[in-house]
């Protein structure tokens, strides 16, 4: 049985150079370059991932991504404008016009965007795959964004309503939907296995979640609450006495919930990857370690925080220095409109710079090591079965992931 192992060949120094270069361009263009930046990141990452020594290739372009974004913004703005207006008219017609009814009407907007968000993520994934090649052959996804959206809404709702009991079914069904719509050339991926196989990795999280809920119910039911005063707004404030341990135990419980949650994500990914088959029987194995990923995140967050802090200090210092030079805070005409304009421009520029650097450091300290760890554990079994695969046609995908971008659901790169 032959196996293709995957090498990750990118170096952090090269990525840093690329991130800095594209980061500065992003600052100078007030953020417009970010579409080209994302594209170049993808090209770089794709080329570092080499199953059997042959790199992936990303063929998307910044321009198509930008145009797709513009189109998505217009369509979503139209949708929001009409949706908000419809809610407004219904609220005015059916109520005494009190502000509460109107604002709770507007609160429907995020809910209305949820299915669109799921569909947008599907399309973003479809676009990325349509622009990914390996050994000259295109990946792709067949259409099905709305089918994905309603399934995702349904299973997310069921997952919450069942207090997590049905969550592994959600994970499995959605992953199966995505996998079964994914292609390499004219060969289709298929997700095998059962949702039941995910209950093992999910058990620690579920037990901790239900334990925490039971603990809080017990604490509230048997605790002895005594009023210790009133808050500034006049609401009474209580202090629990008697049974107090549940309210202390909730802190470590939350930490465990987080860790077990990450474990489930990694483990379910591992389990489901091993049950995917491409075409005539090409199989995969990928085994990232939860412990490694958690450490990368903790360490990476600390490093990102420190590095961003240093840069923010320098940038704010420079901005204040410039403000002093230009006499923005001059004593007499303190708040002349021109000075306010310069001040806002300086502040805005400083904010964008810090934001861009933060992005660069996250790439270097978190995204890069995570990607390196995950992809270098990928194995492709029985690659000889790829011989029958043939090229697929180019998929237009003119929105180019723009909907996910406009809704802020874009990926790290």
């Amino acid at each position: 049985m032959s196996v293709l192992n995957t090498e990750f060949e990118g170096s952090r120094g090269d990525l840093f150079q690329l991130a800095m270069k594209t980061g500065f361009l992003t600052v100078l263009t007030l953020g417009f370059y970010r579409f080209w930046q994302t594209t170049r990141f993808r090209r770089w990452y794709w080329s570092s991932v080499r199953p059997g020594g042959t790199p992936f290739e990303y063929t998307g372009t910044g321009q198509e991504k930008f145009i797709g974004f513009l189109a998505a913004v217009i369509l979503l703005a139209l949708f929001l404008a009409f949706f908000n207006a419809a809610v407004m008219f219904v609220a005015i017609r059916s109520s005494d016009g009190s502000l509460d009814v109107l604002s709770s009407g507007v609160a429907l907007t995020p809910i209305a965007l949820v299915p669109i968000l799921f569909a947008a993520r599907y399309r973003a994934r479809r676009y990325i795959l349509a622009r990914t090649r390996w050994r000259g052959i295109r990946f792709g996804m067949s259409s099905g964004a709305w089918g994905y959206a309603w399934r995702a809404c349904l299973w997310t709702a069921l997952g919450f309503l069942s207090l997590g009991l049905l969550w592994p079914i959600r994970t499995f069904r959605l992953e199966k939907y995505l996998t079964d719509h994914t292609w390499f050339g004219d060969a289709r991926f298929t997700q095998f296995g059962r949702a039941g196989q995910l209950y093992g990795p999910f058990l620690p999280f579920l037990v901790t979640l239900w334990g925490s809920i039971a603990m809080m119910i017990y604490g509230v039911a048997y605790g002895d609450f005594q009023q210790v005063g009133t808050s500034a707004t006049g609401a009474p404030m209580y202090q629990p006495t008697g049974v107090t341990w549940p309210f202390l135990a909730i802190y470590p419980a939350t930490l465990f919930l987080f860790l077990f949650g990450v474990y489930y994500r990694v483990a379910s990914f591992r389990v489901m990857a091993a049950m995917k088959i491409l075409g005539d029987g090409v199989e995969f194995d990928i085994h990232p370690r939860t412990r490694t990923l958690v450490w990368i995140n903790i360490l990476g967050s600390i490093l990102t925080f420190i590095a961003t802090g240093v840069v923010a200090g320098i940038v704010i210092g420079v901005a204040l220095g410039l403000a002093g030079l230009l006499d923005v805070f001059g004593s007499d005409a303190a708040l002349a409109p021109a000075n306010i304009g310069v001040g806002i421009a300086l502040f805005g520029f400083a904010a964008i710079t810090v934001y861009v650097f933060h992005h660069v450091f996250r790439q270097i300290f978190i995204t890069f090591p995570m990607v390196r760890h995950v992809v270098s554990t990928l194995e492709v079994h029985e690659p000889s079965l790829l011989a029958n695969v043939r090229q697929r046609d180019r998929d237009g995908m003119n929105d180019a992931g723009g909907f996910a971008e406009a809704l802020g659901a874009g990926a790290a790169f």
């Binding site: 990452y45 207006a85 008219f89 502000l99 509460d100 052959i137 708040l335 790829l386």
Partner: protein, 400 residues
């Protein structure tokens, strides 16, 4: 590397031949090809001879492309034109040197990009977005403002009032004599007006120099404005401006517009529902740009209303100039517009001069009434235990 392969490499380099990996863009199989460079410059040709089939492909220098942004710099991936999925991977240093000596400039693969098209799309998108923000949303908010029944509007104004002022730590002033003076001023100004709802005029204990017209005729003066005014006519001038907002109904429109534009700005920043500071700042700019036209309208309205009520509109100009000279920040909507349109003060002064003393009716308030209005908040003054033991600043504002 053993001696044998070293020798082979030496041999192939001398002949300008190397073996490379070739992908034909049809099947995912790795094909071994030998690469020869013929000629140099734009006429050069890369000859790819397949090891298995002896088939030969010729890639011309003009079509030769490089796949950019590669993570490794010791192998190069070539393409034949921008659209052809076939790829050639060359890892051999000497062969690469050979190729780049013969063909020094190899362009990167790029998609169908065109700068004019990009600019056209961007311009189109900006126009469309502006049309939605400044055309569609205000249009629908205006229709909403027409549909909403006056009682509902008054109710909306009351709930906005209770949401914003207690949050600022400001409460309604309740001195009966002061309120009576304010009501008298209102009666004089609204004498001949046909407003959809009665004006509810109030003063709140807020030190800033400002006044607001909330939906449903809720006109609120901040104490700072009452205190800085030197005559009742100056307050009346501001009052007339706020009545202009009520008549239009700008307050209702403003509330409905901000609801209608909910989430739209955030799209541009790609930030889910505009939670970021950037989106919040832009939303603020958007709101003030909505209100600029409303301020102009309210000013014109105030001018006519003052003349009709027998008060010289010059009071508006006088008040503005004094505030400007004293260095007080004019955050008042009425003066915001003044500071960006300095010619407006001249226009008002001119119209006041033209109308002349003919406008001057009886003074709007007597000296006693004016004094009472200036002291309308005295009961809300910082309480001392001896004078006002029962005073609670957290009590909800009630109609005095």
């Amino acid at each position: 590397m053993n001696d044998m392969s070293q020798q082979t490499q030496l041999f192939t380099t001398k002949l300008g031949i190397t073996y490379a990996e070739f992908f034909d863009g049809i099947r995912p199989a790795i094909q071994r090809v030998s690469v020869t460079v013929e000629g140099s410059g734009p006429d050069a040709v890369l000859e790819l001879k397949q090891a298995d089939t002896d088939e030969t492909l010729r890639w011309h220098a003009v079509d030769l492309r490089l796949v950019p942004d590669q993570a490794r710099d010791d192998d190069f991936i070539f393409a034949n034109g921008d659209d052809n999925p076939a790829r050639l991977i060359i890892r051999d240093y000497d062969a690469l040197k050979e190729i780049f000596t013969a063909i020094p400039h190899v362009r990167a693969v790029r998609g169908h990009s065109s700068f004019p098209r990009l600019m056209a799309m961007m311009g189109g998108a900006m126009i469309a977005f502006a049309a939605i923000l400044f055309g569609l949303i205000p249009f629908m908010a205006d229709r909403g403002a027409e549909m909403i029944p006056p009682t509902a509007e008054a109710q909306m104004g009351a709930s906005v009032f209770e949401q914003i002022y207690p949050a600022m730590g400001a409460y309604e002033c309740t001195d009966p004599a002061g309120q009576a003076a304010l009501d008298r001023m209102e009666a004089r100004l609204t004498r001949d007006l046909d407003l959809p709802y009665p004006i509810t005029a109030r003063v709140v204990t807020e030190p800033s120099i400002n006044a607001t017209a909330l939906p449903g005729g809720h006109v609120t003066f901040h104490l700072g404005l009452i205190e800085v005014a030197e005559s009742p006519e100056e307050v009346a001038a501001v009052f007339a401006h706020e009545i202009g907002h009520v008549a239009h109904p700008d307050g209702t429109r403003a509330v409905l517009r901000s609801m209608g534009s909910f989430g739209v700005i955030g799209l541009v920043y790609g930030d889910f529902l505009g939670a970021s500071a950037m989106a919040a700042v832009s939303q603020q700019l958007l709101n003030s740009s909505y209100s600029r036209a409303a301020e102009e309208r309210a000013d014109a309205y105030a001018q006519d209303l003052l003349v009709a009520s027998g008060i010289s509109p010059a009071a508006l100009t006088v008040f503005f100039e004094r505030l400007q000279n004293s260095g007080d920040v004019a955050e008042l909507g009425i003066f915001q517009h003044f500071s960006t349109h300095p010619e407006l003060a001249d226009r008002i002064a001119a119209s006041a001069a033209a109308v002349g003393p003919a406008v001057a009716g009886p003074p709007i308030l007597t000296a006693e009434e004016w004094a009472a209005l200036q002291n309308i908040c005295q009961e809300n003054a910082t309480p001392t235990a001896s004078t006002q033991p029962g005073f609670t600043p957290s009590a909800a504002p009630s109609k005095g």
